[in-house]
């Protein structure tokens, strides 16, 4: 059971990790474009906010699956508390 969960998490981690790396690569390769548009203020304020949400979803999913794939998960019982 635990092995299946870890395998599933590994697959998700690889997919989301690749997506996350892609997004970060895009961010740094297009730095000039980002800097010149994201800092304009006004209606452009939505750009950094939307980007932060997008990264939190993709990268957050990757990091969550990353720890699960390594076997680092929440305590199974409440006994530790």
């Amino acid at each position: 059971m635990a092995t299946t969960t870890r395998k599933k998490a590994l697959v998700s981690a690889i997919i989301m990790g690749a997506l996350s790396i892609g997004l970060y690569a895009l961010l740094f390769l297009k730095q000039d474009l980002v800097n010149s548009n994201f800092g304009k203020g006004g209606a452009y304020a939505l750009l950094p906010i939307a980007t932060a949400f997008l990264f939190s979803f993709v990268h957050g999913s990757f990091t969550g699956n990353f720890w699960t794939a390594l076997g680092i998960e929440a305590a199974k019982s409440k006994g530790g508390k």
Partner: protein, 363 residues
């Protein structure tokens, strides 16, 4: 506020070291935030400023990394049943008002007394609040450790019992974290104070979490998890306000986020392995250590304002560097306690599992 075009030119160049430095700080900050609901920001903002990022932009970029981080942390901890979304949103709304008021006070002080005056105000707020609240939290954690009651349910304080007993018609709301109905009127000043502190020292949780625990009567685990909801609500509003003026350097925010999302997941997992008093212990230790760091800076700002005699540049630099080093130490110490407690908890779980398997074999 600021001219957006002028701000764009203030975006710093990123080197590999800058990226690694921000990533590592993000990870440690995230780990602590995942565990106690806040923290990290007090090191990240000065950390960015030490790279040459202008103060206001450091605050804005830090806030823009905080809300997605809080969202991920809150989602994770909600899976463990530790989050009270309703309480978080109610407190978050009044916290937003506190942020706006706190920021306007800051601007007023800056106008009247300049940067040194503003820094002195921030550091004094740090020292006074951390001494009172941090001292109380740490004392409570040590007391329950000494009394051997670390496994027990947390007892309600006298004030929490009173708050839960007051009935003000038309304002009563049930909150899961408290397992009681309380008047929302009590939540307004607490949220407001959390927001004001967030606008002043960047870590609203140092008021928000103890307020939920001691004034409203929420268990430590629920309080620290619900703080993440407050941080999210405050963070979205605050980031948008700064972004309207072009103050957010999204690259900095996302590099820190890259590290902090690894940290926050780990910190959230850590809460399932430890006894509740550990949340108070980590929070108290960090608050009291940071207090010393800020106290060292008071004479520097006082000398800049000519309230005391002149200080040589060498002494002032030494105090600033020592202060920053103590802050890093505080965060590192917090992270160390979290990881150690998690490691111990995991080992105990393994031992229990193998003991259980052995008992089954014997049957």
């Amino acid at each position: 506020m600021h001219d957006a075009v002028a701000v764009v030119s203030q975006f710093i160049d990123l080197s590999l070291w800058t990226v690694l430095y921000l990533f590592a700080m993000g990870f440690v900050g995230g780990l602590v935030s995942g565990f106690i609901g806040s923290g990290g920001a007090f090191v990240l903002t000065p950390g960015m400023m030490s790279l040459g990022v202008p103060g206001l932009m450091a605050v804005a970029s830090n806030m823009c990394h905080k809300f997605p981080k809080a969202l991920v942390g809150a989602t994770k901890r909600a899976k463990y049943g530790q989050v009270d979304v309703k309480l978080g949103v109610v407190l978050g709304i009044s916290a937003e008002a506190g942020v706006l008021y706190g920021a306007s006070i800051q601007e007023g002080i800056k106008k009247a007394y300049g940067d040194a005056g503003s820094n002195l105000y921030v550091s004094t707020a740090f020292v006074v609040i951390l001494a009172i609240v941090g001292g109380f939290v740490l004392r409570d954690a040590i007391k329950s450790y000494r009394a051997g009651t670390t496994n027990d349910e947390e007892k309600l304080t006298k004030i929490a019992r009173w708050v839960q007993s007051v009935n003000i018609p038309y304002t009563m709301v049930y909150f899961k974290a408290l397992n009681a109905r309380i008047s929302v009127l009590f939540t307004i000043p607490l949220g407001f104070a959390t927001g004001m502190l967030a606008a002043t020292i960047a870590v609203g949780g140092f008021i928000g979490v103890p307020a939920m625990m001691y004034v409203l009567g929420a268990p430590g685990l629920m309080a620290s998890a619900t703080e993440l909801v407050i941080a999210f609500v405050m963070g979205v509003g605050g980031s948008f306000k700064y972004a309207l003026h072009g103050m957010v350097d999204i690259r900095l925010a996302l590099i820190i986020l890259a590290g902090s999302l690894f940290g926050i997941q780990l910190g959230a997992i850590g809460t399932t392995y430890v006894r509740p008093y550990m949340i108070k212990l980590v929070m108290g230790v960090i608050m009291v250590t940071v207090l010393f760091s800020r106290a060292l800076m008071l004479p520097v700002y006082m000398s800049q304002l000519h309230l005391i005699g002149e200080m040589s540049p060498a002494t002032s630099k030494l105090l600033s560097n020592t202060s920053f080093a103590i802050m890093m130490f505080a965060l590192g110490l917090g992270a160390f306690i979290v990881l150690k407690a998690m490691w111990q908890g995991k080992r105990e779980e393994r031992l229990r599992e193998s003991a259980g398997a052995l008992a089954v074999e014997r049957i």
